[in-house]
Symmetry: D2
Subunit: 145 residues, 4 copies
């Protein structure tokens, strides 16, 4: 059973990551979490678009990063200062206009290091829009942030 629910994670991000909130609305929402997995949604908003109307690379990076981070916290609890040390992202298709989902799977969850992958797909489509692999350093003192 996860250490944090999707609801607890959303409250955590509201409190600790105010930069994810614009004009009172957070655009990256934790949908569900489970044993070594998690799903996070990027709510469609013009702010994330680049020329041609597609969601920008940095917006997809942010989605993958927050999604993997949320999936790790779901396992270990609210560690505010875990940090991304490495991320590789492949952009494969234009996302559809609409919400974008990141489906995450942790491949390793050690005491100091976690490694996971995030597969990004548009709502209502089975095509993979982007895929990311990320490494996170977990601080020794897991103080609640």
């Amino acid at each position: 059973m996860p250490a944090m629910t999707a609801e607890a994670l959303n409250a955590f991000f509201d409190r600790e990551f105010p930069q994810l909130t614009h004009a009172g609305e957070r655009s990256i929402l934790v949908e569900s979490v489970g044993d070594m997995v998690g799903t996070v949604r990027l709510v469609h908003h013009d702010r994330h678009l680049r020329p041609g109307g597609t969601i920008s690379g940095p917006a997809m990076f942010a989605l993958a990063d927050v999604a993997l981070y949320a999936t790790i916290l779901a396992q270990i609890g609210p560690v505010g200062l875990a940090v991304t040390t490495n991320m590789t992202i492949n952009f494969m298709r234009k996302p559809l206009p609409g919400d974008l989902y990141a489906h995450c799977r942790l491949m390793k969850l050690g005491r100091q290091l976690a490694v996971g992958e995030a597969t990004l797909m548009s709502a209502g489509s089975e095509d993979i829009v982007a895929h990311a692999t990320g490494t996170y350093a977990i601080p020794p003192a897991k103080g609640v942030a």
Copy 2:
């Protein structure tokens, strides 16, 4: 001699990438470009911060991505629809509070594909904060955007 100057690139980003501008101010500025190189600056702003006061991973990703893109356009001219296909970023140190620079070098500039690296350093420091390697697909029809 570059196909676009830093000034022309900044005008291009103002016009074509309005999502880089917040409250009338663009936070990512092209500083200089040259033969296969370029330097781009992320102006310090609270919006990019995460807990602990450091610049967020997504903000650093955006800097590296725009910087590599600008360095490519400096060589080939204003191609609006070049797209990032792959990016690997290693985060190594906390950036200092202040501006962050991306120093770019293109390693390959083919007709269809460009590959470059971006080294991120805080203003006034020689320590490497982050390092990114990115691949960009260049569209066959290089229409001016």
Copy 3:
């Protein structure tokens, strides 16, 4: 239905990649292929070991690379000159002494570019030893090698 069977792929590698064969024996064998998937095995051999008795990083890279390449050829037929353009590999656990499997899934198979992931696991274990994401350029003229 795949364009090449596992048997046809093994014959192809025997003929076209003699450098995979040492002393009359090939150590990387295609086990099975299907629609956008494939499984390839690295036969345990002292030649791949590094200090501490684990399979070396380069041997795991070679397994992932051949496995993704075989999975692509299974879809498009015997293209001798497809080339790896990018590979990211995360090493997560020591492999067990014994055979190592790469389970591959293609995420994109375009006319010019294929992107896939390979998950490496020791025989008889569900733990992920390593994970790779690779990009391959497919030549325009798909001549049989």
Copy 4:
């Protein structure tokens, strides 16, 4: 001043990495090391070739991996059990027939983690054949292997 000379590193690899030696000859040789830098050479040999006569991806991966490892050991001394945790490699051009060099630069050398890049170029050419970024975990007990 480096903790190990190129000569000491070559003796270390002869002793500790017998899998790098084929028929009495090691094909990856440390050429020079310095403060956070190192150059390592892959001696041309048919064993590394793939169809079309180019050096294979796994051989280039092995060169980059040994080169970064050697550059790290040059700084910290003979730690036999440092391990590669992540490697990203971009293949950009066909190498020329002949020796291949990896020029390495460490970007971070912490107590537990080192990050470096390796730029691969053919002897007598300034073109970049491949570029790798690697992360290495350094064991707490730095016993001489």
